[in-house]
Symmetry: D2
């Protein structure tokens, strides 16, 4: 017997996004049943579809858990009750049954209507501030702050799959390396151009492999040409960029000949020492110590950047933010209103950014290792386009297409 | 304007299989339009859905190509005409517009009704034999044989996604290595047990890495216990299995100590020489020269096997089939009526088998390299469950669960 | 003409370590010449070899750079002069020509004799404290502190390759996955046993993949049995370990069934919330909130641990050290006197540790991705033994051998 | 006690090649002892070194096995006896203690002097033909033919590591992808140019990934410009090259737009059908059916080629050699006198070629997967330079440098 039942509705591009498939399969996999009350398939590509169904199970707890997962797929209670907010028992602590956010667009049923949650991000909580729902990190909760509990008054809008295949949707979740990388470069170049034309913001997340693979000049030239509105990286990217600018090497390897020089790793320590002496990267640019490279162009162009420290850092450079809570805050500021994020060879920083980004922001992830891209996709960054190739080659290709250089 | 239009129908588990999503998206991506004439979503999980739609485009050629791709997704003309068969112009040559098969269940509209194609496989052609459609390889065409042309009288049934998540569907297209392999082993063991109980046939495709990673005793014990009804491999698997049985090494590495012994690669050449001297593997078993290992158990149990030669073979062993056309035929015979195929660490042979298998046959692909599994999925073997791990560890785990050994 | 010349000596196990090969090849690759003044090859395996040679080049700068690299290989000036120490111009800044350390055993020629540098680590500087050379990080330099400059009064002792192949040297730089992992497990188990018998310290560096792959119970049992004297990890390991202990899931995947449960990622946020509520991991253990898992056993056994924060952290947990400079210090304290370091599935933390460890400390690196191990080796951690396999399977194997469990 | 002793000599660039290190370590690892009778280290880079030593063990069998492995490293008996040749007991069968060849230059002590073995290859046997030692495959042995047994009258010359780092030795066993690929491309281009200037032969081994990644036009232009003297591939390379030439797709993906076209995989079957209709690739070129691509340029330029069949082939094309014994023979003919082999994205064919090539022939292996290169090196092709990148990008880079195109 299945005496427990709940009625859900969902609407939007349910079929082309695959949402309908996931919804029905989830119910069956969980061992519950459904009955479709009504379903209207959009007549044409422009029309939305509409679903109403009843979900049933003999097991109330199972139905409760299932309901929460259906909400994550864009279903919502046909007749939602008023959202329940309970006070945070302590600073940084939420009530036991707090609602944990996804990075999808979220609404909460407050005072009789759906209200959109501001500052959407993943793995956060929703609090009520001045009567409006806002996304906050657990650690930022103040004692007594009203925290959304349960998911029965929540409505998500997972991003519609980009339907115009000619623009950006072309490689959804493609990570195979057996494709021509040239096409990917050309299309991403078009996308960047169109974003810049429209006044959008492009933010790069870059690992030191960009420098090791000889991509620094290309990335620098893209910065100079105005194609970057933010740079998120770690200490290592800046160290090797400076090493390359000052000594022509990266991790002690001569970038023009490919041969190791001098004392193995010494140059990156010299680079750190030179910047420490100047006082900062910005000071080194001003003093003429640093006259080329990614950081040089970023500083000259006034592009905001954040270098997050890590446990493996040498130095670090003076601008590197060693406290991770402050580093996350700096990243978040730069990511605000980003139109597209270019993730270049850094799994650590890319995953960090993936958690901060709302799911409707586009992302391009370039890495020579397919598992990195798979891992990003695993964490729910569904808008990520993966390109399996060498970051240096990718950037040179991009610069060639956008700037006419080679 | 869009004066060209065709009307298609499709039915089945269109939503849970994702077919409906793929169908509508394809039309849009190709630049055509659709109008849903009717759509009935199955009320419950048991009910099928039904779609009828009109597809339109101003470009007749585009519509023609699109129609062919819609057929591949399970759509068919609402009012199919009689299938067109044209004579093969020459032996091994098909008419220019021949229909190239997928590995999905296929029907052709002949003499007023849908008839199922026999001997379904990928990349074949459909011929009429005694009035019935049969799948054949291009190279086997005889001059004048009637070959199916165009796709407007074809109807496919892509396999429904296995809906009972507790049996086999649990890991559809999962290839991440960040999952517990133990669960995969346990579930696959259950599946194998249930297949054997039901009298089904399990066929293994195995590469030499099975031996290098110490998996030979486990696979041999599974053979002995009746868990294998066919073995498909190359020369190398048998060579290293024999090397391991005779000298305890694999590619010159002592399998119990992990250290190289004697003259590097000499042992595998000695193994080949011993079998050549005996006359064959079967003779070596009879003469008592070969007394353990995978091939020993396979021969003792009378399990059919085929060793396909390859350009990289040493030897080869007497049983190795050096002609690839004959080797393919031998593989195909052993694969007939297979219930499940275990692909163990051999991309070459696994892809070969993937092309021969109808899409409704289950497959488990074990490889330490995620790209191998991605590649198999790329080629359309959608029923493939991927497990990213060491073949030796996987087989020992399987033997432990099925046979209680460790 | 080659008017510039310097005379170097070197001694030790020059041939079996490969040092002699590297020394002579380096000279030729750099475009310089050498003349062997004398060479005495050790008569037997116990005897050391001795080299004296003159290195010549027409280019003084080239010879200077070459000399520095020869020092890194264990050569030293036949008649070293007194080491030059120059005052640090500012806090955290070294003189331009400072000597950048490797992780090999290092001596400096001070007051007429070779003195060993204390607290050896990579990418540091050598300062004189109370007349003795000590290794310090650049950032810890005080203004005016005497810093070693140049390398002409430096003598390194790269670690002799472990000659007894039966102990630990068995897999030097082996990373191929085509070997039986079982052998590796067995030998590493023997090594761990012998270290514990001898009172040595085993430190583990572990990533969350240990939990995802089901390795947490095995690692916990090793801790309980006294096989761990330190644990270095990030926030994520502890979060997922707690998630697994409290809810049986890891990243929302049920570890016993392998199926996703409830709301995707919610459980790891609930785990963080529970620990935040308790106040700390230690408090959670005391309050009985946390009653199993890696962190539970580590806390119960009083094993020192450090959780380093990172830019991608959720939470973080109260014990997580969010400032990277403090985190590095905590790691360094736990690594003091380590006999062997087990690196389990975490490139970030393993590279950090690799930089802190003197080169004579043994390390075992377990990762399913060969490039991670290659990358560690690239950075000079030559004592690293790589095992390409799933961390969970490795740990269960280790526990089975050491504790008799499965 | 160690009553058994044998005296070996070795000479050559023992130190820079690393041979001396491997020799002494091997003895110790095997549990035997050595005493250096004399060792003369080459005074300068031009001078050879000379070693004489006595190897001792209490275990005669161990010493016998060790001796065989020392021979493989370039040691030989100080006073060799006359080589022992025993008649092959049967066609394709060698005496039990036959000598199994490596791919290094080999001499045998026959009639009082060292004579070089002709047609050197790996995993062969040495027979006496007209008084001269010649390398043959096991399967080609005729009954009664005299086969070399034991290794005590054998002398090998492993290739000296290329000492001029500026030419080709620059990347010995480098497989890391964290290097600038551009440098590799430039140096390989220089090497190819110098080989062509000197009248040397360049042979490519290419997999279909060359076409999938858009490298076909670049490779075709290199053929046209005279940079290829042989092409070794499988059926798939030719099929996809023809598919690309006729339809602009590769595996159904439009190479200029990167989007799938028409019916998935149909185009490669159409390509096979067109060539079957023409009768052969050569006929298709003559009839004007095939007018561009790799195979077109190869046929027009009269470059010898061999397409080896495999178990996974579709078709195959008429020129594909389906019998593996004949295919190996065809490969061997084309490889005769090759100066350099370019291995492009095909592990199967590259390993096959690695077994056929003497070790003194240079090889460049380009693959996006580091394990492929590791695997090639594992099999003893020590002259292999590995470049981890996309084959298409590599070829376009090479064409740009050599032909000035982009």
């Amino acid at each position: 017997m299945a005496p427990h039942a709940r009625r859900f509705v969902s609407q939007g591009h349910l079929v082309d996004s695959g949402a309908l498939t996931r919804i029905l399969n989830l119910i069956v996999e969980e061992g519950a049943d459904y009955e479709v009350v009504s379903f209207k398939l959009g007549k044409t590509n422009q029309d939305e579809s509409q679903l109403e169904m009843e979900v049933r199970s003999g097991d109330a707890a199972l139905l409760e858990g299932l309901a929460a997962r259906l909400v994550a797929l864009g279903c919502y209670e046909r007749k939602p009750g008023e959202a329940v907010f309970r006070p945070a028992p302590r600073e940084g602590v939420a009530p036991e049954d707090f609602y944990s956010t996804t990075h999808h667009r979220t609404e909460v049923f407050v005072q009789g209507r759906w209200r959109e949650v501001r500052r959407q991000r993943m793995d956060g909580v929703v609090v009520l501030e001045h009567g409006e729902p806002v996304c906050r990190k657990l650690r930022d909760l103040r004692a007594g702050q009203p925290v959304l509990c349960g998911s029965s008054s929540v409505r998500l809008t997972p991003p519609a799959r980009d339907r115009d295949a000619r623009l950006f949707g072309f490689m959804q979740s493609e990570v195979s390396s057996e494709r021509s990388v040239e096409n990917a470069v050309r299309r991403i170049a078009e996308e960047l151009k169109s974003i810049r034309t429209g006044g959008g913001r492009i933010v790069a997340v870059a690992g030191p492999v960009v420098v090791h693979t000889g991509g620094a000049p290309a990335l620098a030239s893209l910065v100079k040409a105005g194609y970057l509105q933010g740079l998120l990286a770690g200490n290592a990217l800046a160290v090797h960029d400076v090493e390359c600018a000052l000594y022509g090497t990266s991790l002690g390897v001569d970038l023009s000949s490919g041969r190791p020089v001098d004392q193995g790793h010494r140059n990156h320590m010299r680079a750190i020492n030179r910047i420490a002496e100047a006082g900062s990267l910005a000071a080194a640019v001003q003093q003429g110590v640093l006259g080329s490279g990614i950081m040089y162009e970023v500083i000259r162009a006034g592009v905001p950047y954040a270098l997050a420290g890590s446990i493996r850092d040498d130095g670090p450079l003076p601008e590197t933010i060693t406290d991770m809570i402050r580093a996350q805050e700096a990243y978040e500021r730069i990511l605000e209103n980003a139109s597209l994020v270019l993730m270049l060879g850094s799994m650590l920083h890319s995953i960090a950014v993936g958690n901060m980004l709302p799911s409707w922001v586009k992302a391009v992830c370039v890495d020579i290792a397919p598992p990195v891209i798979t891992k990003l996709a695993d964490r729910g960054s569904a808008q990520t386009v993966g390109v399996v190739t060498d970051a240096g080659l990718f950037l040179r290709g991009l610069a060639a297409v956008l700037l006419g250089s080679s």
